[in-house]
């Protein structure tokens, strides 16, 4: 201890501290870093790499039930992908997925932004409110799903009751029973479940904005809106962007909200790509076709990420 302490104390005074030979250290250190990465890499290969390999090869085979031995013996074909082109359910699923993704991400983002701005103000019991407002995020997805199945019930649902009492509607809305409303019906719980995610990321970003910037803006006589445009928005826009990208990716593949509520019905009106995939695989045992749907889903997401990533990266490195 004394010797090392001496070295540490002496080090700042000396112009060139004694270091071990440079070439040896990095390799040892790199090896150490790789060692620390190993569990994560193994996990990734085992539980993400292998499934991906299976799915891609299954999508190129004409098989019903997925099993490794069948996979090896089945003929390779591009039939599954060709079928996609002439399948009206597929086109509808893509349309539903896009509406569902955009329709839930934007309201969730707005609600998340408003709640985050509120929670960033100083007021009494702020911490309690922060916990409460973020709480829907911690509600298990399927619980949120069947809770809204009840709240949106066409005959006994409390939402219809309240809307009617407030004279906003004359007749009860069959939220989940009509093809017109069903997509709205599954978007509502999705927004409720996911606005805290935006709130959280935006709140975190708000806290990194220096108070001096607001003071300076106030001195310059900037009003609330001008302060928001000049100080707040530049500070939080990278977080909003990041949250929107992550949320959209999540919503595009969402299964647990929609499936327990409607299983894709009525008349396929809530059948997104993820639901269609599940129904094809587990109800009709069209494994090859389901895998092809999965590969297309991944493809769309990868293109989306490829478009979104450069700006995300720029945002991140700037802050």
């Amino acid at each position: 201890m004394t010797a090392t302490q001496e070295a540490a104390v002496a080090a700042p005074g000396r112009p060139a501290p004694v270091r071990p030979p440079r070439r040896l250290l990095p390799t040892k250190r790199t090896r150490f870093h790789l060692l620390l990465m190993t569990p994560a890499i193994l996990l990734g290969l085992l539980v993400l790499g292998y499934p991906l390999y299976l799915v891609i090869s299954a999508s190129l085979k004409d098989i019903g039930i997925l099993s490794p031995s069948l996979l090896a013996s089945a003929q390779t074909t591009t039939q599954n992908y060709k079928e996609l082109g002439s399948d009206p359910s597929f086109t509808q699923a893509i349309r539903n997925s896009v509406i569902y993704t955009v329709g839930s991400t934007i309201p969730a983002g707005v609600l998340g932004l408003l709640t985050a701005l509120l929670l960033n103000q100083k007021f009494r019991f702020r911490r309690v409110f922060r916990t409460l407002i973020l709480l829907p995020w911690a509600v298990p997805t399927v619980v949120a799903s069947f809770l809204f199945l009840w709240v949106l019930n066409a005959s006994y649902g409390v939402l219809n009751y309240i809307l009617k009492q407030l004279h906003l509607i004359n007749q009860y809305i069959p939220w989940l029973a009509s093809p017109h409303w069903a997509l709205v019906g599954v978007i509502i719980p999705t927004v409720w479940k996911s606005y805290p995610f935006f709130c959280l990321l935006i709140l975190a970003a708000l806290q990194t904005i220096p108070a001096q910037l607001y003071e300076a803006a106030a001195v310059d006589g900037a009003g609330a809106w001008a302060r928001f445009r000049a100080v707040t928005w530049p500070g939080i826009s990278p977080a909003v962007y990041l949250a929107a990208v992550l949320q959209a990716l999540w919503a595009f593949r969402e299964f647990e909200v929609i499936y327990p509520m409607t299983a894709g019905g009525p008349a396929g009106s809530t059948q997104t790509l993820a639901i269609y995939l599940y129904n094809e695989a587990f109800q009709f045992f069209h494994l090859g076709y389901a895998s092809a749907l999965g590969v297309v889903t991944i493809g769309i997401c990868v293109i989306f990420v490829a478009i979104a990533y450069p700006r995300m990266r720029r945002n991140l490195s700037r802050s």
Partner: protein
């Protein structure tokens, strides 16, 4: 307040006197707004609680009462009697604790080395995003095959491993953000003091990122507790089910026991409320680092 001959100071003193009053008034209106918004946003949860203790007849009445009338407290006793709710609760707890522990054990070292390696930032970001492009419904089948091959099907461990694989990428990315904030100088000083790489990592770097571990922990807990798809497909016998899977099984083809279902939902949410109340502070501070540092 001391009187001063300097008019500027007097003005400042006056401003200081009125400012807090104005600020306090504004704080009140924020509080009112917060109460209104919270009431609106948490109404569904309130309704779940009300529905779980109301009698069936009042739930299906034309004139709903928005206040609980505690007509039927027996729904809780009933679901515990009719279903293996206690067992499901334990299973959920085991899976959640296991997933959180394993995720932290894997993500903390991974985040550290991502932070210390030059290409770490891009690698972490791309991997994190990449795992977010694969539909869960697509992973379920290969997982089923894999786990049946190694005889882990119908075990809680299979769900823990499946959960961990999806939690680790984002968790490692969050942890990388935290380790980025630990100055390398501290580690170099430790190295000069004769600390080995392992000891530098475990005794110097890790204690400095405790809030990050908290953030990763709550993220893992929320995700694992909420998970439905993996336990639904990997756990075959009802005695191995989790709360989520058990709850959905209450939804029948034609009839739904809304009382029981809402009671089940309340039981499913309560542990998260507790975990959230304790761990929530880590969440915001955790993401402050994770979200802003690439």
């Amino acid at each position: 307040m001391v009187l001063s001959a300097d008019p500027r100071a007097a003005q400042a003193a006056k401003a200081a006197q009125t400012a807090p009053r104005r600020r306090r008034a504004r704080r009140w209106h924020w509080l009112v707004l917060a109460i209104a918004l919270t009431a609106l946003l948490l109404f569904p949860l309130y309704w779940m609680l009300v529905s779980s203790v109301d009698s069936i007849s009042s739930l299906f009445s034309v004139n709903l009462s928005l206040l609980p009338n505690f007509g039927d407290l027996g729904s809780y006793a009933e679901i515990f009697r009719n279903y293996q709710v206690g067992l499901w609760l334990v299973n959920s707890l085991v899976i959640t604790a296991g997933s959180a522990a394993l995720s932290i054990a894997v993500a903390v070292p991974a985040g550290y080395s991502l932070s210390r390696m030059k290409i770490g930032g891009d690698v972490a970001g791309v991997i994190m995003l990449f795992t977010r492009v694969i539909p869960g419904t697509l992973l379920v089948l290969p997982f089923f095959i894999m786990f049946s091959r190694v005889n882990l099907l119908n075990t809680l461990l299979s769900v823990i491993i499946a959960n961990t694989s999806l939690i680790v990428p984002l968790a490692a990315w969050i942890m990388k953000g935290f380790f980025d904030r630990v100055p390398v100088d501290i580690e170099e000083a430790a190295a000069i003091d004769g600390c080995g790489l392992w000891r530098t990592f475990l005794l110097v770097a890790v204690p400095l990122v405790k809030p990050g571990i908290g953030a990763t922990g709550i993220y893992a807990i929320v995700l694992a507790w909420s998970d439905y798809l993996f336990p639904k497909t990997l756990l075959l016998s009802p005695s191995h089910w989790t709360l989520s899977v058990g709850a959905v099984s209450l939804i029948g083809e034609h009839t739904v026991d809304w009382n029981g279902l809402m009671a089940m939902g309340t039981i499913g949410v309560l542990p998260m409320v507790l975990a959230f109340a304790v761990l929530e502070p880590y969440l915001v501070s955790g993401l402050t680092a994770g979200a802003t540092v690439g």
